[in-house]
Amino acid sequence: MSIWRLEWLRAWRTRRIVALGAIFLILGLGSPVLTYYLPEIVKNSNNSGVQIAVPKQTAADGIRSFTGNLAQLGTLVVAIVASASLAFDAQPALSAFYRTRLQSSARLVLPRMAVVGGATEAMLALGFLGAWYETTVLLGSVSALGILAGFAVTSLWFCFVISVVAAVASLLRSVLAVAGTSIGLLLALSLIGSLSSRFDWLPTKLAGSAADVVMRQSSGVWPAVIAGVVASIVATGFALMQFSRREL
């Protein structure tokens, strides 16, 4: 059995790929529906007698709702799934099984990152397709190119998330510690990014600007794209270096 088959079995038998698919599909199909019914939801839940005017929802609102949920719930789920896969030193005897058979850390870490990343992107594509369909049916048309561009930007964001988790997993051991620290780091980065437009180049901008990219309203996402690619490569390189240095 090759390492690739083993990692695929891990994604399938642990139901991690199912969890990713379920989350992304629910967000993709559900977010535009919720957006469509938002005026009615607000109207029916408002018993105070105060008049609240909700403007008619557009395709941009539907997509914005979807990408907003992706940036939060999606990131959380991807970080947890990646932590469970990449914190392989959490069980020393199991780690010894792999380390004594795969002589380099790259042969151990890269397939895990690739399979988690591949599963995430595949399920994300399903989510985007769902969101595209529902938005088009309920709220108005969205261009295919826009959806592709939004998918690419969000994919890059999740690649960055996985590489951050790998870097943290090379420093910490338990799954809980890796997941918690990674999510904390991403939150801190997001907070810094929201402080000033001077930080628009940070990779967190990728998650926040996916809707604008889809609706072709994006301005200046390229610095964040470049930063995301560079940071992912650096974090992965750091993880490989640390994993090869670390003892059992």
Binding site: R5, L6, L9, Q91, P92, A93, A96, F97
Partner: protein, 306 residues
């Protein structure tokens, strides 16, 4: 020729010295037993030799490729969602030496897990995981097998089977095994290293080590034997004496000729009813206790000569 040798191998964990400069020499094709009390550094040494830890200083020289070294921890840990057969399939596949299903099944039968081949290992007991760990080590056809307490988690029957399996490997590969059970080591190992507090206090052939031991006599009388024990302890020819079981006296002898001459008189004088007298077999355990300064002999100190 040595399959593995170390030079002044040291390992520190913060302020704790786990290995204090050991020079192991493990001949090719031998079954080498590494023994020592808890905390003596056995597992640390094995993990360094398996490439899982870095030594603080010193050198490890392997005459085989690193990929030909298999390491089996005391209780293996595997992905709970794999079956036993898949564990062996991945164990060989990850090494780049994939094995056929027939070979995998034969290996599972060899270690007594044939009926669990298609069961997920998440439900395996410690003993089953220990067996599977050994199979995972052997399936890649290593030239050097490192096994840390391979039979520790097994019941007596399972223990016997695994020790037999290790004994059957003699000559086909080099085996380095650590064990708390000295009877196991005595049964299968031809070379032995004794680690005490991170230091190698003995290394060499098992028969050489056993030959070093002082001659000993075992005298069996009807209990009580207190008077005879005291009488033997008072002689010049007895180095130590202990009543190991009621009526069973074991004495290490400095002067065997004097012992043979004087023992009948001591028996008569103490009024003992003799059941049996003969040479006591020297076990690895006796020597181990002597080398490591542990064991029941110290507990029996009240019966030792001053």
């Amino acid at each position: 020729m040595n399959a593995l040798s170390t030079t002044n191998l040291m390992k520190r964990y913060g302020g704790t010295q786990a290995l204090a400069g050991i020079d192991l020499a493990i001949p090719t094709g031998s079954i080498y037993g590494l023994v020592g009390p808890n905390g003596s550094g056995k597992t640390t040494a094995l993990e360094i030799l398996a490439g899982l830890r870095h030594p603080t200083s010193g050198k490890v020289e392997l005459s085989v490729d690193r990929a030909d070294v298999a390491y089996c921890p005391d209780v293996g840990d595997f992905e709970p969602w794999l079956t036993a057969a898949e564990v062996l399939d991945s164990a060989s596949g990850l090494l780049g030496r994939p094995q056929s299903r027939a070979t995998i099944d034969a290996m599972l039968a060899r270690i007594g897990l044939a009926e669990s081949a298609n069961r997920r290992v998440g439900g395996f007991s410690r003993g089953m995981r220990s067996r599977l760990g050994l199979a995972a080590g052997l399936i890649g056809e290593p030239k050097f097998l490192i096994a840390d307490e391979p039979a520790a988690a097994l019941d007596p029957a399972g223990r016997w089977e695994i020790i037999d399996l290790l004994a059957s490997l003699a000559g086909s590969m080099t085996v380095l095994v650590s064990s708390h059970d000295l009877a196991d080591v005595e049964r299968i190992c031809d070379q032995i290293g004794v680690l005490v507090k991170g230091r190698l206090v003995y290394q060499g052939g098992l028969t050489d080590l056993l030959a070093r031991a002082a001659p000993a006599l075992q005298v069996v009388v009807r209990p009580p034997a207190d008077q005879l024990v005291s009488a033997i302890a008072a002689t010049a020819w007895a180095r130590s004496v202990a009543e190991t079981e009621p009526g069973v006296i074991r004495t290490d002898v400095i002067d065997p000729a004097a012992a043979e001459r004087e023992l009948p008189q001591l028996l008569a004088a103490s009024g003992s009813h003799l059941v049996e007298v003969g040479r006591a077999g020297v076990s690895l355990q006796d020597i181990f206790f002597e080398l490591t300064g542990t064991g029941p002999r110290l507990l029996a100190a009240t019966k030792e000569r001053p």
